[in-house]
């Protein structure tokens, strides 16, 4: 039983939990796999950093926590410095980061890293809020754990009604940018 | 907002100043909005948490009344009086 471990970190307001939720749902509902999403509250309920952990597997998942992420998504400097050291020390591991908010200098890691200006992309779409959906697209392209269809379907039924097409564009932005990096 | 603020601005008889604890500010804008003399403005730059802290537009406008301090929910700013404002009379005359 191979379990893929994913961790997503950022600060409150970036939609970290929703990112985890969509990834998990895409796997569990639309790709017919098993997946578990857990969230970590900061020491206090409000205003601090937060993270989501997603496991994806072809079999039922027992132990539901991430030990060493295979894929790490970081959207804040704080998350980068706290979580990168715990990553799988392996080039097959994937590190996805918000290029404008995270500076990887001085943080050692073995994973393959890909950066994206997700916030800027989101701003271009007219809604900073969708930065996390850009990230989901980026993740789908690079982590190779979800089918694009599943991810799109999960985005569609997880966002507020009326914002579907905006969010799908955000997804596509991230997805295509991700594919373009692969090709490069 | 800024227009309304600009209207309030007048050179004050006493010179005041403010101190801002930038990393504690959450950019709520209370201080800016409720400074009776419109002396404050949210700065363009961010603090580490991504908020825009306030700054004095011009010390001449601040009389050190500390209303900003009384409003600030994050204890991030306070005003104090420095002394009489040497620019005050000039201004009056100009008027």
């Amino acid at each position: 039983m191979r379990i893929s471990e994913i961790k997503i970190g950022g600060f409150g307001g970036q939609g970290v939990i929703l990112t985890g939720m969509i990834i998990g749902k895409a796997a569990a509902i639309y790709d017919n796999k098993y997946s578990t999403m857990t969230q970590a509250f900061g020491p206090e309920a409000r205003g601090s950093s937060c993270s989501a952990q997603v496991l994806i597997s072809d079999e039922k998942i027992l132990y539901p926590y991430v030990t060493k992420p295979d894929v790490l998504v970081v959207m804040s400097q704080d998350a980068a410095s706290r979580f990168i050291p715990d990553m799988k020390q392996d080039a097959k591991a994937v590190l996805l980061y918000e290029k404008d908010l995270v500076n990887l200098e001085g943080i050692p890691y073995k994973a393959t890293g890909y950066g994206i200006q997700a916030t800027r992309f989101a701003e271009e779409l007219g809604r900073t809020m969708v930065l996390n959906i850009v990230m989901v697209g980026f993740f789908t392209a690079l982590a190779k754990l979800l089918s694009a269809d599943a991810a799109r379907a999960a985005v569609k039924d997880s966002v507020p009604r009326g914002t579907e097409s905006l969010n799908l564009s955000a997804f596509d932005k991230g997805y295509e940018y991700g594919l373009s990096l692969l090709k490069a | 907002m800024s227009e309304a603020l600009a209207k309030k601005r007048k050179i004050q008889k006493y010179l005041g100043n403010v101190e801002v604890k930038i990393e504690h500010c959450k950019g709520c804008g209370f201080c800016v909005e409720f400074c009776p003399t419109g002396a404050l403005e949210l700065s363009k730059s961010f603090n580490k948490k991504g908020y825009h802290p306030p700054m004095l537009v011009d010390q001449n406008y601040c009389n050190g009344c500390d209303l900003c301090g009384l409003y600030c929910p994050d204890f991030a700013i306070f005003g104090f009086r420095v002394g009489p404002n040497p620019n005050f009379k000039k201004d009056e005359k100009a008027k």
Binding site: E44, A45, R46, G47 | N17, V18, E19, V20, K21, I22, E23, H24, K26, G27, C28, G29, F30, E33, F34, S45, N47, Y51, P53, M55, L56, Q59, D66, L67, G69, L70, Y71, C72, P73, D74, F75, I77, F78, F80, V82
Partner: protein
């Protein structure tokens, strides 16, 4: 930018609120634009102006965002259980009447789960000051309806809009016997300060309701903007009617907010009554509580 900036001349100064705070616990947990911190400034200023011996001032809170106030004040501070600060404060005060006791409580803490303690404390006229930060919902637990949520504001437990009749807190406090009752909004920082000062000086149960923004849960969910917009709303829609009949100060959703000092009267406190009655029944042998050995001396 350095930590302390814009400080161009003069000696290094301190924020006048700082001596009243536990600096080692700053920054606090309240959200951007939350009004609770503003009320704390007013409280600190009222303490200064009251010239009280701060060593004798205790603050008691229950659980909630407002409940965190006790923990940030540099006083003897008790962060008790949800709904029970008034009952705790009753014990604290009666066990040592030399203490000045202040309860800081949210609308849920004070009037939902804690409603019984509140009405009985008012009835008994226990000598304490109760500050209620009314943000129209339960902040700490994520924005559920409270007994002050106006119809039709939505909350997480009133997803189609709150619909229950609400409590008019000043009227309730008045009805139950509080001797000092006022309401202000966080916009009214000077008035809050004055009210708190008066309340601290008042013998008996004084009650101050402060309408305060909860931008994260109340304003945002109801599309009322952020904390600043709430403050502007308060500024533009508050009507000061000191002495108003408390029956008439009910709050409606986005209606006008009647502010002012509504009640200020004299009424014997619980302890006054206790001493008067015991003295009458027991006679000269009765030593009034707390007995002071030599006039101004300490509690025996």
């Amino acid at each position: 930018m350095s930590e302390q900036t814009n400080h161009t001349e003069g000696e290094p100064r301190v924020n006048p609120v700082l001596p009243y705070l536990r600096e080692d616990r700053m920054p606090h947990i309240w959200c951007p634009g939350c009004g609770i911190g503003t009320t704390v400034n007013c409280f600190a200023r009222a303490l200064t102006e009251s010239e009280l011996d701060l060593d004798k001032v205790s603050i008691v809170s229950g659980i909630g965002c407002t409940g965190r106030v006790a923990g940030y004040m540099n006083l003897d501070a008790f962060h008790t259980t949800h709904g029970r600060p008034v009952a705790f404060a009753t014990g604290l005060k009666l066990a040592n009447p030399d203490l000045k006791v202040v309860v800081y409580s949210g609308d849920g803490d004070l009037m939902a789960i804690g409603g019984n303690h509140f009405i009985h404390a008012c009835r008994r006229n226990i000598d304490m000051t109760i500050v209620c930060v009314n943000n129209f919902l339960y902040g700490m637990t994520g924005g559920q309806a409270s007994s002050t949520t106006p119809d039709p504001a939505t909350t997480t437990t009133a997803p189609y809009g709150a619909f229950e009749h609400t409590f008019n807190l000043p009227f309730l406090a008045d009805s139950c016997g509080a001797v000092y009752v006022a309401r202000w909004t966080t916009y009214h920082v000077r008035q809050i300060t004055k009210a708190m000062k008066e309340a601290l000086a008042k013998k008996g149960l004084s009650f101050i309701e402060i309408i305060s923004p909860c931008p994260t849960l109340y304003q945002r969910r109801n599309k009322l903007g952020d904390g600043l917009q709430a403050m502007e709303y308060y500024r533009d829609n508050s009507v000061v009617k000191s002495g108003a009949d408390t029956r008439e100060v009910e709050i409606k959703y986005q209606g006008e907010i009647i502010c002012g000092k509504f009640v200020d009267r004299e009424r014997a406190t619980w302890l006054d009554c206790y001493n008067t009655r015991n003295a009458a029944a027991i006679g000269a042998r009765y030593r009034p509580y707390p007995w002071r050995e030599n006039g101004e001396g300490g509690v025996k």
